[in-house]
């Protein structure tokens, strides 16, 4: 930052001229305590939270009565800052320009003579500005006080004792009745699986296919009915029938019937027999 070089011309006569042109009055007439050395500008400018903050700073620094603000010097000083911001290429928020316009408007309203009646109606043109300034200052100070309050993680910590998970683990309660129920459920389940397993062995189509093949081993015709054992029950018979169908499908047996309703004979297929 080449701040000193840029600001130096501020003190030259030419620059004074420019400033005077801006505000309509020479800068030299400003009260001495309102003047802020240019070197301080850069540091200060970044620190302002907006035009109200800047105005408050100017007022408080100069020990001005906030209820009776001398508009001319305040406006002049404000514009010096705004101009300095511009010359430093600081991004100048529209809020600052709006405030500048407002200050100039108030100043001009105060300068213009008005008929006594109208003056009475309008009141002090500075009133709204004063209200906003005071409002903002109040909140600004409240913020500072809030910041001073002890705050968790900055000024103190929550205390929390480490509780080992196992100690607080909730173990479910078990009653005798629960045990009984559980046992019954297990028994029921066991019976189901057991039954299922037996059926699978009994009703294996493959097994029946082998058994039928074994019965036909000698290569002669066997009566269809003789392939089934009624003792196996309906399920066993169905599986046996399926086994026969499966054997036919795989061309392992031949099924013959001479005429309708005649006995059915089954014998090994030639290929199977030869093999």
């Amino acid at each position: 930052m080449n701040l000193p070089l840029e600001l130096a011309p501020l003190e030259t006569a030419a620059q004074m001229q420019a400033v005077a042109r801006l505000y309509g009055e020479p800068l030299l007439q400003l009260p001495a305590d309102l003047y802020i050395p240019p070197d301080a500008l850069e540091i200060i400018l970044e620190a302002f939270e907006g035009p109200l903050d800047l105005l408050l700073y100017l007022i408080r620094k100069a020990n001005l009565d906030i209820l009776d603000i001398p508009m001319a010097p305040l406006t002049a000083q404000y514009l010096v800052y705004v101009e300095a911001m511009r010359s430093h290429n600081l991004e100048l928020a529209a809020d600052y320009l709006l405030m500048a316009a407002m200050l100039l408007e108030i100043k001009s309203r105060m300068l213009l003579p008005r008929p006594p009646r109208e003056r009475e109606e309008e009141g002090d043109p500075r009133a709204e500005l004063v209200r906003r300034l005071l409002d903002y200052e109040q909140m600004k100070m409240a913020a500072a006080r809030l910041d001073v309050l002890p705050r968790v993680e900055r000024d103190f910590e929550w205390v929390s004792v480490f509780v080992a998970e196992k100690v607080v683990e909730r173990l479910p309660e078990v009653s005798l009745h629960d045990l009984q129920l559980a046992w019954l459920t297990i028994m029921k389940k066991a019976r189901l699986t057991q039954h299922h397993r037996v059926r699978r062995e009994e009703l294996s189509v493959r097994e029946h296919m082998s058994a039928i093949l074994r019965k036909l081993e000698d290569g002669t015709f066997a009566v269809f009915d003789s392939l089934f054992d009624p003792a196996l029950g309906p399920a066993g018979l169905v599986v046996g029938f399926l086994a026969v169908l499966e054997l036919v499908k795989e061309r392992l047996v031949q099924v013959a019937q001479n005429e309708a309703f005649a006995p059915i004979y089954v014998k090994l297929a030639d290929a199977a027999h030869d093999a």
């Binding site: 035009p51 209820l67 009133a127 903002y136 200052e137 500072a144 809030l146 103190f156």
Partner: protein
Amino acid sequence: MQLTTPEDFKRVIEAALLAAPAPLAVADLRRLFESDPGGDFVRRLLEDLRAEWSGRGVELVQLSSGWRFQTRPEYQVFVDRLKEERPPRYSRAVLETLAIIAYRQPVTRGDIEDIRGVAVSPNVLKTLESRGWIDVVGHRDTPGRPALFATTRRFLDDLGLRSLTELPALTEIERIMDLVDTKEIEAAAAAATEKEL
């Protein structure tokens, strides 16, 4: 375990408070016991406990949402030495916004901007929201239905306050404000807006 003396009850409350990850309200503490010992009884034990812990590095405090143990602020300097990083400082923009929400709630973003005289950056509100200190409590019934912000219980807890009334009093500016005839100001403001229109 049979609880007979108030001392027994007190130890139960102490254990619950120390193990709790969040403040416990009196109503929570009453649920610790099979038969409700009553709010007054619990409150009396809490006061006893607070007195018992008064000479320690840790204190029992009453917050907005209940009671909680916390370290004493005077030892934070030492506690901080074991920390990896310092807690971040909040910018003036964040603090001023927080102050406006705390003292003037519920407020809209526009209200905050009116008082501060500058636009409120979304990051400022996001910072406060993610800290759990403010939230949206409704919408003002005006065009655009702007969100209304208010502070949370967490905000009070984290700042060791029991209620908003415990916020630091606003400065004597209020008295200065009273000195100015507010009616006059309002009339002037009204006249100004009329003129603009």
